[in-house]
C-alpha cells in the first residue's frame, strides 16, 4: 500500500505531467492560452486575480525552499529551527491567505457572473476542485500542524521534504511519507493529482510566463518564409494509391 501511494502513484503522475506537456505542446499550441475572461468581467477579477497569482507565486516559492533545501544547509548558514519555522509559518500564512482569498473571489466570480460561468469547461471545474483542495489542505497543515501542534509535533523537513528529494532522485523512501500526519499525506496526494491534470487544463499557461519579454527587442520582425508556425507539420498533399 505504501509503495502504491508513495512510489507508484507519484511517478505515474509525474510521467503524465511530463509526457502530457510535451504532447500538448506539440499537438495543441493554439489551445495553449490563459483563456482569460477579463473581457466579461473586470471588477472582481481586478481584485481576485492578482491576489491569487501573487499569493501562488509566494506559495510556490515557499514549497521550493521547504522541499528542496535540506535542513542541514539552513543550519550551516546559521538559521536555526526556530527562526526558520517562524519565517516559514508567517510567509506561508500570508501567501496562503492571499491565494485562498483570491481563489475564493475568483470562484465566486466564476459561479455568479453568467458569461464567465458559461465559459467554464468541465476540465476547469475538476481542476478548481483539486487546486482548492490542495490549498485548503496546505493551509490546514500550516495552521493545525505548525501553530497548534494538533496530532503531535511533526517537522516536515525531516519527513515529507526528505521523501520528496528521494523521489526526485529516483530512490523513493515510501516509509517517510507513511509516517507523516494524514494532513500532509492528503495534501501530497491531491497535489499529485493536480500535477497529473495539469497538462490538460489551462494551467499550462504557467509555463508560458513571459520572462523573455524583459530582454527581447520591442518590435519583432519575421519573414514570411518561416512556415514552421503550426504545431503539427502540414500533411502531405497527396493520397496513397492502393495497389
Amino acid at each position: 500500500m505504501n509503495v502504491l501511494l508513495w512510489v507508484i502513484v507519484p511517478y505515474l503522475c509525474l510521467a503524465v505531467f511530463v509526457v502530457g506537456h510535451v504532447w500538448r505542446y506539440r499537438y495543441d499550441k493554439f489551445g495553449w492560452t490563459t483563456r482569460s475572461s477579463q473581457l466579461y468581467e473586470d471588477r472582481l477579477l481586478r481584485l481576485g486575480s492578482p491576489l491569487f497569482h501573487f499569493g501562488m507565486l509566494g506559495v510556490v516559492g515557499g514549497h521550493v525552499i521547504g522541499l528542496l533545501v535540506p535542513r542541514s544547509w539552513t543550519e550551516a548558514v546559521g538559521i536555526g529551527d526556530h527562526l526558520y519555522h517562524y519565517v516559514a509559518v508567517v510567509g506561508g500564512l500570508v501567501a496562503g491567505a492571499m491565494a485562498l482569498v483570491g481563489m475564493a473571489i475568483l470562484i465566486y466570480r466564476r459561479r455568479t457572473v453568467g458569461p464567465v460561468f458559461s465559459a467554464t469547461t468541465r476540465m476547469d471545474k475538476v481542476m478548481y476542485a483539486f487546486l482548492a483542495a490542495a490549498i485548503v489542505l496546505g493551509m490546514w497543515n500550516t495552521i493545525a500542524g505548525s501553530i497548534f501542534s494538533l496530532g503531535g509535533e511533526y517537522n516536515y523537513r525531516e519527513g515529507v521534504s526528505v521523501w520528496y528529494r528521494s523521489f526526485l532522485a529516483f530512490q523513493p523512501d515510501a516509509d517517510l511519507m507513511a509516517d507523516a500526519p494524514v494532513g500532509f499525506q492528503l495534501h501530497a496526494l491531491v497535489a499529485f493529482g493536480l500535477f497529473a491534470l495539469w497538462p490538460f487544463t489551462r494551467l499550462v499557461h504557467v509555463f508560458s510566463a513571459p520572462v523573455g519579454y524583459l530582454t527581447r527587442p520591442y518590435i519583432v520582425y519575421r519573414s514570411r518564409d518561416e512556415r514552421a508556425l503550426g504545431s503539427a507539420a502540414p500533411r502531405r498533399g497527396w493520397d496513397e494509391v492502393p495497389r
Binding site: S36, E41, L45, S49, H53, P210, I219, G230
Partner: protein, 551 residues
C-alpha cells in the same frame, strides 16, 4: 540605410458614403466566428462621434501608443516591461465588453415556432455572450450619421479644445465618415506590448500579424494599440487583428474591404522606407513635426541610390517597379494630400487619409454661393476653422497648416477640373495657387476621381518561388484533409492548424448548419440567421412537422 517595403493604404474620405460595405464584407471574410462577434477589423465611424470602442482616442484613459520621455527616448505609454509583467494578472487598461458592445442575436424560434395568435410574436434579443435575454443599448456604429449625437458626440475626444465652438445641433454641424482598419504601423506599439512576442511585423511587406500559436492571451496588445484595432477572441482566448488580407495580397489582389468598397475610395500600394530612421522619427519632440518626420522615413523609389539599396536588401525587382507606380506613394509624397491618422501616438501608422473637403463645400453651397469657385472655397477654408481644426486633431496632431494645404489642393482641383469639364480654357493660375502644375493637377484628378482599378491597387504578388507555401495556393496542404478530426478537446479551436481560407470556409459552413447561437451545444436549439446564407435548411429553421421529421 536599411530599406524595407511596406504595404500601405490611403483612403479618400470625400468619397466615403458611409455604407459599411467594407465592414460587412470584412466581417463575413474574417470575423464571423464565435468569440469574434464584437470584432470589427474594419469599422466605419461617423465623425464627430465616439468611435469604436467608445472614446478609444482618449489615451489619458486607455494609455495606448508611445510617449516621448523627457530624456528624448520613446516609451510605451502604459509603462515599461517590468510594469507590464507586474500587471499581467489583471490588465488595468483593458476595455470591457461594454466599451465595445454586447453582441446579440434574436430568438427567431419564437417567430418560426409560434402558433397562430392574435398578436405578433416577438423575437427577443439574446446575448451572444451569456445566452440570456438582453436589452440592446449600444453597438459598433450606434451613433451612425450623428444618431443620438446631441447626447453622445460631446464626449468625442477630438473635440477637446474646440468644444465650445462646435454646434452639435443637426442643422448646424458637419459630419463625415472615417473607415478604419489596423494601421500596420512602422513602430507598432501592440507588438511592443506583447509579452509573448507573438505579434510580428512581416519583413517582406510590413503587415503586422498575430501568431496564433504563440499568443498566450495576456491581452497587453489590446491596451497597447492606441487605435484599439487588436481584439481579444473570448472563445479561443487569443488576440486577433486585421491581417491586411495577407492571403489575398500575397497573390496580388486587394484586401476584401478595398475590393468591395462602393465608393472606390481605397488605394493600396507599396512604400519603401528606411527602417533605421523610424525610431528617431517617432521620438521627435514636436508633435506637429511627426507628420513630416514620418514622410522623411519614406524613400523615393525613383532614386537610383534607393533602388540599389533596395536590391541589396533583397527586395525583388518587380516590387521596386511596383513601388514606383504605387498610388500610396503618389498621394503621400507627390501630391501631398494624404495624412496619417493620429501621428501623435508615435506608432508611425501606414493607413493614411485624404481629409474630406465636403464639410467646407456643403457650407458654401448652403449659403447659395458657387461651391466650385476657387475664391469661395479658399475663403471658406480660411474662415471655417471648426472642420479644419477638427480634422487637424485627427490627422496632424492639431496642426491646421497641413490640413489647410490639402483642403486647398482639393478645392483647387475642383474648380480647375470644372473649367475643363465644361469645355472652358483651364485657368493655370488655379494649380499655381497651390504650388502645382496643370498637368499634375490633372493626374491627381485621374487618380482621385477616375480611380481606375489598376491605378488604385498596385500590389506585387509574393514570389513564385515561394508559391508552394502561400496560403491561398496551398499546394502542400489539400483542402480535403482538413475539417473533421479531433477538435474542441481543450476548448473551441484547439487542434491542428488549418490554413486561414479553409478554416473560414469550414467555420462558416459549421455555423450555417449549426443550430446553436454561439457554438456551445447545450444552449438550446436556435438558428442564427445572421450566419445563414440562404442555402439549405438548418435544423430548427422551421418547426418540426407533425408526426416528426424535418420540415
Amino acid at each position: 540605410m536599411r530599406v524595407m517595403a511596406q504595404m500601405a493604404m490611403v483612403m479618400n474620405l470625400d468619397k466615403c458614403i458611409g455604407c459599411h460595405t467594407c465592414s460587412v464584407t470584412c466581417k463575413q471574410a474574417w470575423t464571423n466566428r464565435a468569440g469574434t462577434e464584437y470584432v470589427w477589423f474594419n469599422n466605419v465611424e461617423t465623425r464627430p462621434g465616439l468611435g469604436y470602442p467608445r472614446t478609444y482616442e482618449d489615451q489619458d484613459e486607455w494609455q495606448g501608443g508611445w510617449i516621448r520621455k523627457p530624456n528624448g527616448r520613446l516609451a510605451l505609454k502604459a509603462g515599461g516591461r517590468v510594469k507590464k509583467l507586474l500587471s499581467i494578472f489583471s490588465n488595468p487598461k483593458l476595455p470591457s465588453i461594454d466599451d465595445y458592445y454586447e453582441p446579440w442575436t434574436y430568438d427567431y424560434e419564437t417567430l418560426t415556432g409560434s402558433p397562430q395568435t392574435d398578436t405578433f410574436p416577438v423575437a427577443r434579443p439574446k446575448s451572444l455572450i451569456s445566452g440570456k435575454n438582453m436589452n440592446v443599448e449600444w453597438s459598433a456604429n450606434w451613433d451612425d450619421d450623428l444618431g443620438g449625437s446631441q447626447e453622445h458626440a460631446a464626449r468625442d475626444v477630438m473635440l477637446k479644445g474646440i468644444e465650445d465652438k462646435v454646434k452639435l445641433e443637426f442643422e448646424q454641424t458637419f459630419m463625415f465618415y472615417l473607415p478604419r482598419i489596423c494601421e500596420h504601423c512602422l513602430n507598432p506599439s501592440c507588438a511592443a506590448s506583447c509579452p509573448s512576442g507573438a505579434i510580428y511585423k512581416r519583413e517582406e511587406d510590413g503587415i503586422v500579424l498575430v501568431d496564433q500559436d504563440r499568443c498566450r492571451g495576456w491581452r497587453m496588445c489590446v491596451s497597447g494599440c492606441p487605435y484599439k484595432k487588436v481584439y481579444f477572441n473570448h472563445k479561443t482566448g487569443k488576440a486577433e487583428k486585421c491581417t491586411f488580407c495577407y492571403p489575398r495580397v500575397e497573390v496580388g489582389i486587394p484586401t476584401v474591404c478595398s475590393e468591395t468598397c462602393v465608393g472606390r475610395l481605397r488605394y493600396i500600394g507599396l512604400v519603401l522606407y528606411d527602417a533605421d530612421k523610424v525610431l528617431e522619427a517617432a521620438s521627435i519632440e514636436d508633435e506637429h513635426a511627426l507628420y513630416d518626420a514620418q514622410r522623411a522615413c519614406f524613400l523615393d523609389p525613383h532614386d537610383p541610390a534607393v533602388q540599389r539599396a533596395a536590391e541589396q536588401a533583397g527586395i525583388p525587382g518587380d516590387w521596386i517597379e511596383a513601388a514606383k507606380k504605387s498610388p500610396v506613394w503618389a498621394l503621400i509624397n507627390t501630391y501631398e494630400v494624404a495624412l496619417p491618422l493620429h501621428p501623435e501616438y508615435r506608432t508611425m501608422p501606414m493607413v493614411w487619409y485624404i481629409p474630406p473637403l465636403s464639410p467646407v463645400v456643403d457650407v458654401v453651397r448652403d449659403t447659395g454661393e458657387d461651391a466650385e469657385d476657387r475664391g469661395n472655397l479658399f475663403a471658406a477654408i480660411d474662415t471655417l476653422r471648426i472642420p479644419v481644426e477638427y480634422l487637424a486633431n485627427l490627422f496632424t496632431a492639431g496642426d491646421p497648416v497641413p490640413v489647410d494645404r490639402v483642403l486647398k489642393k482639393l478645392a483647387a482641383m475642383r474648380s480647375y477640373m470644372r473649367d475643363i469639364n465644361l469645355g472652358r480654357d483651364p485657368d493655370e493660375s488655379i494649380p499655381a495657387a497651390v504650388g502645382m502644375t496643370g498637368e499634375q493637377m490633372y493626374e491627381m484628378f485621374r487618380l482621385l476621381a477616375i480611380a481606375k482599378y489598376a491605378e488604385r491597387y498596385v500590389i506585387p504578388a509574393a514570389h513564385a518561388e515561394q508559391a508552394h507555401a502561400l496560403e491561398e495556393l496551398a499546394t502542400d496542404c489539400p483542402v480535403s484533409d482538413y475539417g473533421g478530426g479531433q477538435q474542441d478537446l481543450f476548448g473551441e479551436g484547439s487542434g491542428y492548424p488549418t490554413p486561414v481560407a479553409v478554416e473560414n470556409f469550414r467555420m462558416l459552413q459549421d455555423r450555417q448548419t449549426s443550430d446553436s447561437i454561439a457554438a456551445p451545444d447545450d444552449k438550446g436549439s436556435r438558428v442564427n440567421l445572421l450566419n445563414w446564407d440562404g442555402k439549405g435548411t438548418p435544423d430548427g429553421l422551421f418547426p418540426p412537422r407533425e408526426g416528426g421529421g424535418r420540415a
